[in-house]
């Protein structure tokens, strides 16, 4: 055979090479500009060991109060995520290609979802703390908005990807738009809805534990107080319990996703 083997790597073009060099330069500059140095690591490492040392053994004298606070946090997450999911569905229908009643409505719904998604949850939390006051209600609203930003987009995509055939079959029967959405699109998209909803619960639980740092309710405030008072052993208890909660929620979510797929 007279066929020569192709080269293992393609030679990069001028544009590709320039981009590569620029990216490499930017990464190096990023390290310099954020001021991370070996010195930080040298000083930081013993400090980490010291704090960790003061965390153990964790102080469990107040565990009843912490568990109760954790439960409240979890409930705040659930309430926010349920509200968010309920509102996500209509917004997603308005935002989905082929389901939205009008292009202007579609763009508006997509804009709203994008706004909810791109502004970080802590910023929403600050906004709601200012508007509705300190405490769980601000946290619930934050999680709701965060859920709409995430689920709205995935619900819309899931509905756009459903079987066109059954939609057309119903259209040819003379079904209404809502009839088609509820009897074909939503049943078809259901596994995807459930998977997305479970991700939202996990995400909400993770974010609910930090919302307290800015006063939006939940266990985060206990964590902040413990650190502020240098009660690292109490903080350790809180962190371990948060860890257990998040892992349990993720495992439960994983298990349920496998069942619906």
């Amino acid at each position: 055979m007279n066929v020569s083997a192709p080269p293992r790597f393609e030679r990069p073009g001028a544009v590709g090479f320039t981009l590569f060099v620029a990216a490499a330069a930017f990464i190096i500059w990023s390290f310099q500009n954020s001021g991370l140095s070996l010195e930080h690591l040298e000083r930081g490492f013993p400090a980490i060991i010291r704090v960790l040392g003061r965390m153990f053994p964790p102080d469990i004298t107040d565990i009843d109060r912490i568990l109760w606070s954790l439960l409240t946090t979890f409930q705040m997450a659930i309430a926010g995520v349920v509200l968010g999911l309920i509102l996500s569905l209509p917004i997603a229908i308005l935002a989905a290609d082929g389901l939205s009643p009008h292009p202007v409505v579609k763009q508006a719904a997509r804009g709203l979802i994008a706004l909810f998604r791109t502004v970080p949850d802590l910023v929403w939390a600050l906004i709601f703390v200012i508007t509705v006051g300190l405490g769980s209600p601000a946290g619930i609203l934050t999680i709701m908005v965060d859920t709409i930003g995430f689920a709205g987009r995935f619900f819309a995509t899931a509905m756009e990807e459903t079987d066109k055939g059954s939609r057309e079959a119903l259209a040819s029967i003379g079904a209404t738009r809502s009839g088609i959405v509820f009897s074909s699109v939503i049943p078809d998209a259901m596994p995807s809805f459930i998977a997305t909803s479970l991700f939202c619960v996990e995400k909400a639980v993770r974010s609910s534990v930090v919302l307290g740092l800015v006063g939006a309710g939940g266990i985060g405030v206990e964590l902040k107080v413990a650190f502020d008072l240098f009660e690292y052993d109490v903080a350790a208890t809180i962190i371990i319990l948060i860890f257990i909660l998040v892992v349990c929620v993720e495992q439960a979510g994983e298990w349920m996703r496998r069942r619906v797929m």
């Binding site: 059954s166 029967i173 003379g174 079904a175």
Partner: protein
Amino acid sequence: MSAAQANPALGVVPSHAIRLAGVAKTFGDVPVFSGIDLTINTGEAVAIIGSNGTGKSTLLRALNGLNPIDAGSVEVLGASVHALKGDALRRLRARIGFVFQKHFLVSRLCALSNVIHGMQARRSGPQVWAQWCAPAAAREEALACLQRVGLADKAMQRVDSLSGGQSQRVAIARMLMQRPEIILADEPAASLDPRAGDEVMELLFHLSREAGRTLVFVSHDMEHAVRYSDRIIGLSGGGIALDISATEARPQELTGFFAKPAAETADRPRAVYSGAAAA
């Protein structure tokens, strides 16, 4: 009018169910057909044959407005299909059953729910979204439709667990639930094995005959075209190139229609080709 059709003895049935005049359709700059004139009588069973890409599906889908047309008029059940919009179009579609090559059922729902969807021709709202929220009368009617296609025992089974032939029969039950006056079917047997295909065609033919419904189906199976129709229409070169009574036709002769070079029929797009005379 639908009452009159349910009781042909009243005698006020309009003589034609479908009338096309000068219908033309072009996709981009590819002409599919031009100047199709065709009248189909009420209660008639018509088979449409023709090579791939001659526009059979496009024509069928123009009959209930699923595909738009560029020129001409399509009159179905006395209404000008392409002049209708919104509710008026939906009301007309409700009277026209359509069976596709693929069953196009909602795969995650059970057979009964899918059949109940056929009721969306007559009413809207949550009662016709799924079997569990449907009123008892609707569930009974849907079960009767399933029984009609021999699948009453599969009512609660999810349709993605049914065979292709069974799914197609569920789709026919859904169409029956619609109580249509016209049945359109685009290669309803094409993705089925010969036996299931025969059953489906037999069923469609029988269902149209027993209630005096008009049947228009597309088929690549010449046996089916001859056996289950009164009249065979062949599309070629952008027009109707064959229009014969099914009693005159024999499957082997019809196969000759496809052997005809496309260019020859394209010169005389609307000439009537008689399979019997050519033999």
